[in-house]
Symmetry: D2
Subunit: 343 residues, 4 copies
């Protein structure tokens, strides 16, 4: 069985394991106050062109999301998200468990627009009963989205502008950020994120690390008390240096983008084969996730050999996701491409 079902099917990029090995006996203080966390944070600040940013390393994406939301909102505020946002659909109510409502807007290719956000904010501003409804207090987007699609710099700029015009922060979930940075079409740099978002995170778990995400807070007003929030929600790792070491490895010498480029390239080979075969693509993704529609017959042929993420029946067959990672092997893609050609 060759697994294309997700981008966290293997362990970590070998350079990360090597550095963990090399530093294993080093004694460091705990909770992120070690030299590796400092070094990694410095590298990230440099990469973002944001020397004043706070950088916090946390264990996972759901945690990053729930801590940022709970940290930025007042108790009666909610977070605007696409109906397909990870926080809305795949975190078992993690945001609501912190007491906050998610205010959903419909997505287009997994994205939401500045106009949609403005509509929500304007509706609240004009509400005859503003005390009786949840106040939109921040915006959540993901990049790449849950469908592998990308915001353009212009789209992101427009979202940022509307947020700041209404005085609320923009938060970007970068669980798969490497695959955006590694995509040819991408025109959003880390510097752009640092400039346009108030908080964002750089995903490690899905981008070559064993685990871990780096939360970057650029807006001073959003920085307050985040370490306390991390400790309270179980997001502060005792051996914090494990995260420092991993992110240092990712951001020293360009490994992070390399991981993204590699996986995106493998995904595009699959995409190309699908297109040539006439298999319909469900979203126009240029990153490591490809969604496509297989007939039941086609699915029956492939599923014994490959594990995909099965998104259930849609018109024309079954919606299937193939995902590549830093570890996807050329020969496995070759085999899949060959099998697609035979469909």
């Amino acid at each position: 069985m060759i697994r294309f079902e997700c981008d966290y099917g293997e362990g970590a990029h070998p350079r990360i394991l090597e550095l963990l090995q090399e530093t294993n006996y080093e004694q460091t203080p705990g909770y992120g106050e070690d030299r590796w966390c400092r070094l990694a944070a410095d590298r990230i600040r440099e990469a973002c062109g944001a020397p004043e940013a706070d950088v916090h390393f946390v264990v996972g994406g759901t945690q990053a999301n729930l801590m940022v939301v709970a940290s930025l909102l007042r108790p009666y505020e909610g977070v605007i998200s696409a109906t397909t946002g990870h926080i809305e659909v795949h975190e078992t109510g993690a945001v609501e468990a912190t007491g906050h409502k998610i205010l959903t807007v419909p997505e287009t290719e997994g994205k939401i627009s500045a106009a949609q956000v403005e509509a929500v904010l304007a509706e609240y501003a004009d509400s005859p009963v503003p005390d009786h409804v949840v106040k939109p207090g921040m915006v959540y987007i993901s990049h790449p989205t849950e469908y592998g699609t990308l915001y353009s710099r212009d789209e992101l700029k427009a979202l940022s502008d509307v947020c700041h015009r209404y005085g609320i922060p923009l938060f970007l979930d970068g669980a798969r950020l490497a695959f955006a940075l590694g995509a040819e079409e991408n025109d959003v740099s880390l510097q752009d994120l640092a400039e346009l978002c108030d908080v964002f995170y750089i995903g490690g778990t899905k981008c070559g690390a064993l685990f871990g995400e780096a939360v970057v807070i650029t807006t001073p007003a959003c920085k307050k008390g985040f370490r306390m929030m991390m400790k309270q929600r179980g997001g502060m790792l005792a051996k914090g240096r494990l995260l420092g070491v991993q992110f240092f490895a990712l951001f020293e010498g360009g490994l992070y983008e390399e991981v993204g480029r590699k996986a995106d390239g493998q995904a595009l080979r699959i995409k190309k084969a699908l297109k040539e075969k006439g298999v319909p693509l469900y979203y126009e993704s240029t990153t490591n996730q490809q969604f496509f529609v297989l007939t039941e017959d086609q699915y029956a042929v492939l599923k014994d050999r490959y594990s995909f993420s099965d998104n259930g029946p849609v018109s024309g067959g079954r919606l299937v996701r193939a995902c590549t990672s830093w570890a996807t092997r050329d020969e496995d893609v070759d085999t899949l491409v060959a099998d697609i050609n035979q469909l």
Copy 2:
């Protein structure tokens, strides 16, 4: 200015004030453990044909909703509701503030169907990732709905059946229950509610009381710890007897239904005038709330003399709600009817 904007514009039905006056110097224990609460609970149990039901008196509707939801759900469960449910749209995130997600389904005339609920429950039961999504743990409906419409006994029975087939409770918000019981078309009795719902509440605030709602819990598994929940969320009144006295007055001698009938009758007179004038009705309500569409010109004529609830622009003009109450005076309805005729 004659107010038709809501059903809580006046104080309380005079019989309630009288009984409060008469009992004012009586000394009673606090927190609902007095003889008036006992008497009122007995009357309600009798009216519901539910001698084993727990009856709790709480201060308001938002409280009743949030306490019932928080009491019935496990931390990772959510509540199914219409997109127009009061808990979803007009309680400033009260349910989410208890940690729970609202799982919305589209409404038809303010109602949801057994088939819709079953679809949500079946989707969860079939989910490939049941640990990653919120588990539907109960159903919330309102009767009359936020649009003044009514569930039929058959519809309610079907909802009850699907809930119990999937092992989750059905909760009915009866903030305006008097106006259902008082409606000619209504075929759902208090006994039906006690039989088909696991928890429901009988509204007082909007139905002639100064304030207060009576939560009725018929299913033994739903009873546990509700008084503790009430105290914790600030829903247990120190002078609990005030609620007992009011609900005793409402349920002694049929006042509760009388209040509903009176208000519904006034609303139907307005509805008739609107229909005759050709003003479009937005929902087919037979209770004390009537939604209709006025042209901007019509609205301009009426709004100086009457206060309505303004629901904003819709196709054809402006969506307006007129509401009657136990206190709506014949002469005020006469005047409005005359003015509608002149539009």
Copy 3:
């Protein structure tokens, strides 16, 4: 049975009932946006000498406490309270249910001192692990305390000073404030409270109203979003004018202090009788609550005729509380005094 067990055993002061009666058919907007709430808030602002204060009317004391705490604290902050604070011992974990820890300090006669508060704040400021412990974010006191004792103006000033030196707000629970204002020894005026506290509330439920408390917020930074918090937690009354009417009655013509003076006077008559009989007083209260130790024999004699609050066995017998209210009748106190004399 003559009840001295609490100060909420009867309904409301007759002047309040009269005004509710008089205004019963008046039509007003809901949710505290009516003229009675405005008038009552104005009277309170005048009485406090605080023309800029926000005044919000809420249903009960537990609600007032939980909403103020949840509104003032960040998620990782806690509230400093005496071990005997109402929020710590008698609200079923209402504060914790909003997500916040109570940081207790030992009480002396129900009170805590500026030195104690400073010690907690200094300990946190010096903590080697400030991210791992709850940050003290506000101070809660009650006046009169749960034991009927009073803070002096100097004590309150010292508490206020230390809070503000450390940048945290001081919140005073005035559920029984009338009995402080009515006490001869009291040297803390409403103006003092407005000046020294950031938020406090003026109790209605225990001080002659049917129910309701008036939350007064003087510090601008503490005002934000309080009405949303009220709606979310079920503390915003639909017929808000009921609270406006009641507080208008209490603050028009000095009724509030009158209620306090009356009850305090009755309590002092009981205290005098106890002292003369040699019954030990447990706290030095000059307000409407008197705590004293009866032998089991003495208790056996009195308990058939009077209901007291029984605080269980203590050295020397049983700790008993007698409470008076606006409604306590002279003849009932006469009888009790006579019976005490006979012990």
Copy 4:
């Protein structure tokens, strides 16, 4: 600088790193549904003699604690803990952030007794106002305690008995469990824990793993929905197999006890030196944490060379903790012992 300040100063035991390395390219499903998690859970069930137990791997200790508490309690229930319990003092209010109060009882050598727990439970059972106070719903203990001390089997049995007599679960925090299992004086086996506790966890982070704790739930009523709780609170690792691999390494071939024995042995060497020198020991610990009182002069001598955990001034000097781990080197202990001898 030689670090004795904590037991998480280094990375992971080499056998763990090796197995992570060996399995790095293995493709597995995520979220704990891989073969390594199954294998590790099987080993743990065997070691506990509990074939029916649920075993869940989570990222850290604070998370394990907050998820177990939130999973076992109803909203109005609290958890009994020593005043020195980790959940009470060092988790930034993590338990309260889930809505629950911690009901503290004083500790003796870091432990609480069955009699103390019974007193709390009996007081609640006898409370005249059970609806107004937090209901004790579970007991939390740690073993070894925060002071390195151990419960005896008899003490644990007595705690278990009182809990079950009152119908509440016993939860044991085993963040440092290896150091109990490795201690000569310990008479509590994993089988005992499985028999006497309803839920406990086996610490990895402090016991040789990179990170991770294994939550063991033996009581069927406590099992419900725990994976959903894990996902919701961010405790479910995407690459769950990392935890499976680590715990497999720890429980295959007795590594877990070996880690404990090694660290305990090193700690006892330090303890012996302290005793011989006459340095007062603050608690009678036989595990990897030793608390002792250094004079300021002694502390000044040692602190340049060694990092200890500094617990601040106490009578006689400064309370200091030395901690050993799986990685503590003989030569470092030799040096410290020599320096102690020179004090």
